[in-house]
Symmetry: C2
Subunit: 340 residues, 2 copies
DNA sequence: CTCATCACTTAGATCGATCTAAAATGTTTC
DNA sequence: GAAACATTTTAGATCGATCTAAGTGATGAG
């Protein structure tokens, strides 16, 4: 490409119009596939676009029309495969509609999240899918309402005034507890992890309720380190409780992975010395040995549902807030046995 | 918020200017932190912005100025944790500069990739970080040059005319082969996977060269299924070779995970019955038991480097094309032993 | 007192699309 | 042949910022 060519600014709709001997307005109609324009004219304009290598300028269009075709997605941690799968579902559905996803990582920090929301507003996103950072103030929902910005909460929620898509964590806990109880377990630990947020609370509460309804003690709640690497070496915490558990339900797949490794390191056999149930069920669970019995929340599906809900919300902003709660399924594999 | 308020269009720079008794031009200067504007005026305008809840409209600005503050990132597979880590590095560096990342998943399909590139052009991205889909025609680089779009290739490359950031796969293979050879292994398999692309080729060639330079037979090359779930059950392929390998080097962490599971299923002990070396070294490698000895390519770092390279390319489009090749490191853990 | 300089400030054009309202063209109908 | 109508096409304003070139005062120099 010559220097001149690079210098020359991009091909505009006006150039196309002139090349096809029509007005800018007509060219614009062709672009938007309007039925108003005659078929002969249409093909002439389309040919001109090809000839000149015309590229639609969405940015310019959106100055007139209130639609940027951009959706924002904010997650607390990109490297967690669970969120990667969520994003994959979001990107899939949004992409199908010709829109585009702006990705951002809040690092579970409230201030960073505020900055990212602001940045997305500046970019004029049509809406945002938000997995709120831990300790996000519920007042954020009022700000969002003031902004008039369509938002869907995923996995975690801070307010009932905003659409929400998540999984039925409580039901998942019940499935896990019921299954372990059916095997004869009575001392079941909950292996928690990470900061407190709604999904955390729902899982803990779900665990407690499920245990109580089986007449079991819901008191064995152990908090493990945040970093995956440190979980394995904290496995001993399981055995320093007043009552030694015979099974553990993990907060998410990271804890399950960590404990699974930690038990191996201590020469213990999963399913015999301790039964283990994972949560979230990302692709790994199937790949680990022994295969992890796990409650699946279906992150890809949740991402897809969130995306669809957001699209509906954008199309119809006056809908009352909705909550979509995805069913969980217990995948029974190899990590649970009868208590010793 | 009342109906009227929602109806009222967004606050514009002109509103701010009027509220602060200055011209639109002055308000714009304040926005861009120009030293030209007086300090009393500046604070008056800033106050007006706060009073009115002004939100900068990047889209409008970019119509005048050639800068959208948007970067595109195209990866072949979002659910692969390796790419999630790559993205995390990209997002981190791009986010620091106040820009924003548009995310897209090519699914390793060439046509889909073409469509995504087109969509990104329509959005006027300042540049794109592209991990080219397998079988991408090298001619794409000419198109990209014609478009005048700053692009950085990551992990895979289709052309020497475009910046590239990757890892020294050949060196990684040498590290792996040398280590296994030092343990006494002579029959080493390469466990391949996925479609052929530059990174694949470099790894295979690297393996071959490393083997030859040790005087070993580089002929045991086995291709495993694409899906993680199917790799484990294809483990038998390892033992149906003319010469039975005593060690295997895996194409990436998915193969390593799959084979590790498959060996377990067959009652074989990793490191004794077969030594295993992984590649890529995502967080999982450390979490699996036995811990996987693995060649680390540092996806987060590569993402960061690619982002930085792209920013430099955007700032200076006339730079000659550059290649950045990240060193690999062999992390020796527990999955290798002496041959039986 | 005039002119140059400095430190700000601003009117108006501009970016590339869309939208409104009206005009041009072709077709029927009476 | 004119009026009524349907079908296409278009001129010009518009969205919200930035940029250019010009316009204020105030101060200092000659």
């Amino acid at each position: 490409m010559s220097f001149d060519e690079r210098k020359k600014s991009r091909v505009t709709l006006l150039d196309v119009a002139r090349h096809a001997n029509v007005s800018r307005a007509t060219a614009s109609l062709v672009l938007r596939k309007s039925p108003l324009v005659g078929s002969e004219t249409r093909s002439r304009v389309e040919q001109a676009m090809r000839d000149l290598g015309y590229v639609y300028n969405i940015g310019a269009a959106r100055l007139r029309v209130e639609r940027s075709q951009i959706i924002g997605a904010i997650v607390p941690n990109l490297t967690n495969p669970f969120f990667a799968e969520l994003l994959s579902g979001i990107e899939e559905v949004i992409g199908e509609t010709g829109k585009v996803v702006i990705l951002a990582n809040s690092g579970d920090k409230v201030e960073r999240q505020a900055m990212l929301l602001q940045r997305m507003r500046e970019h004029g996103v049509d809406g945002v899918i938000l997995c709120p950072a831990a300790r996000t103030a519920p007042a954020l929902s009022e700000e969002i309402a003031d902004w008039g910005m369509p938002v869907v909460q995923v996995l975690r929620h801070i307010s009932f005034d905003i659409d929400y898509v998540g999984a039925d964590y409580a039901a998942g806990m019940r499935q896990a507890v019921d299954y372990l109880a059916s095997l004869g377990h009575e001392k079941i630990a909950f292996a928690a992890h990470g900061p407190v947020q709604s999904a955390y609370q729902e899982r803990v509460d779900g665990f407690r309720d499920a245990m109580l309804s089986k007449g079991l003690d819901p008191g064995i709640l152990i908090h493990f380190p945040t970093q995956l690497g440190e979980i394995a070496s904290a496995t001993h915490l399981l055995f320093e409780q007043a009552t030694r558990p015979t099974a553990a339900i993990c907060f998410n797949h990271l804890v399950a992975l960590g404990l699974s490794a930690g038990l191996y390191d201590r020469g213990l056999t999963i399913g015999r010395d301790l039964s283990l149930i994972g949560f979230d069920d990302v692709a790994d669970e199937e790949a680990i040995r022994p295969k992890l019995t796990s409650v699946s929340t279906g992150p890809v599906t949740i991402g897809e549902m969130a995306a669809r809900l957001l699209l509906e919300r954008i199309a119809n902003p006056d809908l009352p807030p909705r909550r979509v709660v995805n069913d969980t399924t217990l995948h029974i594999r190899q990590s649970c046995g009868r208590p010793q």
